[in-house]
Amino acid sequence: MNAVQGVLYEELENSIRIKKRYIEALLQIKKGCLREKIVNGKRYFYLAYREGTKVKYSYLGKLSEQQIKEYRENQKKRKEYQKSIRTLNQQIKYLRKVVNVRTK
């Protein structure tokens, strides 16, 4: 293994490890996005999430502004982490190709 290959191999290991960390972090965040329904002028909330091919709604009821903010932030963070995992997948694919490591 030459010097450049050594660096690339290290980068590959880093990308694999970081991806694992993102997956772990993603599992800590509640799945689904907040849906609002107004009935008789009152706001009620549901959590919409996908289960296989179906979209399911779980009733959350009335939420405080703080709770709404937390749900929205979680949703944003989930998207960010998913984007990072996609980037890492691209890095891993590319690095595997250049260091010539066979994927299992």
Binding site: A3, V7, N14, I18, E24, A25, E80, Y81, S84, Q91
Partner: protein
């Protein structure tokens, strides 16, 4: 501007808005990125940057204002990546953050807990050398603290000789960067700074500098400024 550089800017902006930017020192290869912005003679420095950016956080220990650093980086999309015996590292597809602190006395493998910041810093030998002379670089309106290039160069030469054989690539990179920065200082006509520094470091450290330069046939650059010590 690359996504990586933009992320570095967002980190600096965030640390500044929290009032702690002056209390962290950028060390490691990313210093070159800041030298290239600060010195017009730095055009000759290699533009290569690594994914890991290291911060010396020892000045934070004397700073009264406490901040949850992990939470701050989390807001930028970083995730926690504990390493070794619990050193706090933060990871992102574009960057990996390491928090370092100078190793004192006999040293330890255990992390140094920075109370009030939520991080465990990794003690590193010879890091104190970099704290001896610092400069500040204006990075898009934010003042970033980095070691003076002379201290950076000598430190790189020293640590290049302390790396295990398995880190041959890193050793080569250390030496390349050290010599490029030394050349930049010489090009600025400020070799006297290196001379004074070399005359004041412990003999053991000077020996490591000699050893490093000897390996790349560059011993004469040392002898021309401090003789045959």
């Amino acid at each position: 501007m690359s996504e990586q550089s933009e992320l570095v800017y967002r980190i600096i902006e965030m640390l500044d808005s929290e009032g702690i930017l002056h209390n962290v020192i950028v060390v490691g290869s990313w210093c070159i990125y800041f030298y290239r912005q600060h010195y017009k003679e730095a055009d000759t420095l290699p533009p290569l940057r690594t994914r890991d950016i290291e911060f010396d956080v020892s000045p934070l220990r004397n700073f009264p204002h406490k901040v949850d650093i992990i939470d701050l980086f989390n807001k930028l999309g970083f995730v926690l990546d504990l390493k070794g015996s619990g050193f706090t590292n933060l990871a992102h597809p574009e960057l990996m953050i390491e928090f370092l602190i100078p190793e004192k006395g006999r040293g330890t493998d255990n992390p140094i807990v920075l109370k009030g910041y939520g991080i465990n810093a990794q003690p590193i030998r010879y890091l104190s050398l970099l704290e001896d002379k610092l400069i500040t670089v204006n990075h898009r309106g934010h003042m970033v603290t980095v070691p003076h290039p002379a201290w950076f160069s000598i430190h790189k030469l020293i640590i290049s000789q302390r790396r295990p054989a398995s880190q041959k690539n890193k050793t080569e990179n250390d030496m390349k960067q050290a010599i490029a920065v030394w050349d930049m200082i010489a090009g600025m006509g400020e070799q006297k700074i290196i001379q004074d520094l070399l005359n004041n470091i412990p003999r053991g450290w000077l020996k490591l500098v000699k050893q490093a330069l000897g390996k790349v046939d560059q011993l004469e650059r040392l002898e021309s400024i401090i003789g045959n010590k």
